[in-house]
């Protein structure tokens, strides 16, 4: 057992876990944060995507101890004071989800994508970068639409702020 400390969504947390514990298990089981999902056993579906030190990673393909001392952002950390994050709002408005199982990973992948590309994000790039996120329901069209809408809104907000 190792004592693991993380800063999750701005809150310092710690817990004891076996070294083989995956980050996603630590989040879900030790911390009770079940927003991050597990959709596969093979590191391919992206339902488990969280940000570690600012970058999107698959939390099922990282040991919790590997993240010891890191900043982690999960889907639970996006909304602030009951107001949805622009990406969450865009998924809601554009019908970017059906069963919702893939959605936490999609949204964490989308916020990472927008961080890297800003409002320059185009459809081709979104589709290419969704390679690591699988959705069995939507057929992706509305997911792509949601991400592009959020990128445009966040870009405008950034410009207005400048």
């Amino acid at each position: 057992m190792t004592s693991i400390s993380l800063n999750v969504n701005g809150r310092q947390v710690s817990g004891e876990a076996e070294d083989r514990t995956l980050l996603v298990e630590f989040l879900r089981t030790n911390l009770g944060m079940t927003g991050t999902h597990v959709g596969c056993d093979t590191s391919q579906c992206g339902a488990c995507v969280v940000h570690v030190d600012g970058q999107a990673v698959k939390s099922c393909t990282m040991l919790a101890v590997q993240a010891n001392g890191s900043d982690v952002t999960t889907i639970e950390g996006l909304a602030s004071n009951g107001t949805l994050h622009p990406v969450q709002k865009a998924f809601h408005e554009n019908h970017g989800l059906q069963c919702g199982f893939c959605t936490p990973g999609m949204i964490m992948a989308a916020t990472d994508m927008i961080r890297r590309h800003g409002s320059a994000l185009d459809e081709k790039t979104v589709r290419q970068e969704l390679e690591g996120n699988i959705c069995r329901c939507t057929g992706y069209h509305n997911i792509v639409k949601s991400i592009l809408a959020a990128a445009a809104e966040m870009g405008d907000a950034q410009q207005a702020a400048e």
Binding site: T2, E18, D19, R20, L22, D41, T42, S43, Q44, G46, V49, Q55, A56, V57, K58, C60, T61, M62, L63, V65, Q66, N68, A109, D112, M113, E129, L130, E131, G132, N133
Partner: protein, 265 residues
Amino acid sequence: MYETNYHRASSVSEAASLLAGSDEAKLLAGGQTLIPTMKQRLAAPSDVVDIRHIAELKGISVSGSKVTIGAATSHAEVAQSADIANVCPALCGLAAHIGDPHVRHMGTIGGSIANNDPAADYPAAMVALDATIHTNNRTISASDFFVGLFETALDEGEIVTAVSFDAPSKAAYQKFPNPASRYAMAGVFVAQGNGGIRVGVTGAGSEGVFRSSEMEEALASDFSPAALDAIAVDPAGMLADIHGSAVYRANLVKVMARRAVAAAG
């Protein structure tokens, strides 16, 4: 996953002694191959030695035409490196098409070449760029480094610290990705450098990455896609699996080679 003990090394020498301290220890870099393998219980190291936080293993330096990439440098860092893009944009393009963004944030060049998956992308570039693989006790030329399927010239406990190469005057990489995994079904890296033209082929060979001397000769006299028309890739040396037959892969190699030559211009 079976039980394991995690160690975080802060230097290469510490990593080496941690490895030496256990018969069944393995290095853990980005974990994008090792962790999935451990989850499937196909690997069960008693100890894993995390080298992702070792500063001396990270970073990219370009001086003149000499490019050096630390072993723990992520695929995303190579993809986004303006310094590498200046001298060898083909390598940035290759890195940008490994797996998906999440895999690229964690996966490293050292882990990729040490693993030597027959469908991995970097080995084709290393062979075509005539790269040198630096370890904690020697340097190995890429042509000697990749030995066979998942097999390299690395000794037990040896650590890849960096790769280096002279930037080519032109180069390009084209791959036909498996539509599900994004690994190469056939990937061809073509480079024209001081030592002539080199063609590295991944994803297709039954012994892993290889050079096509036939294509190299044809391109030496005429660097154009048409120069490859007369070449017949022999299916006998090709991988065959549920994703494609040997004949299919032999054809893909030629198609990817033609596209790479066209892209290199």
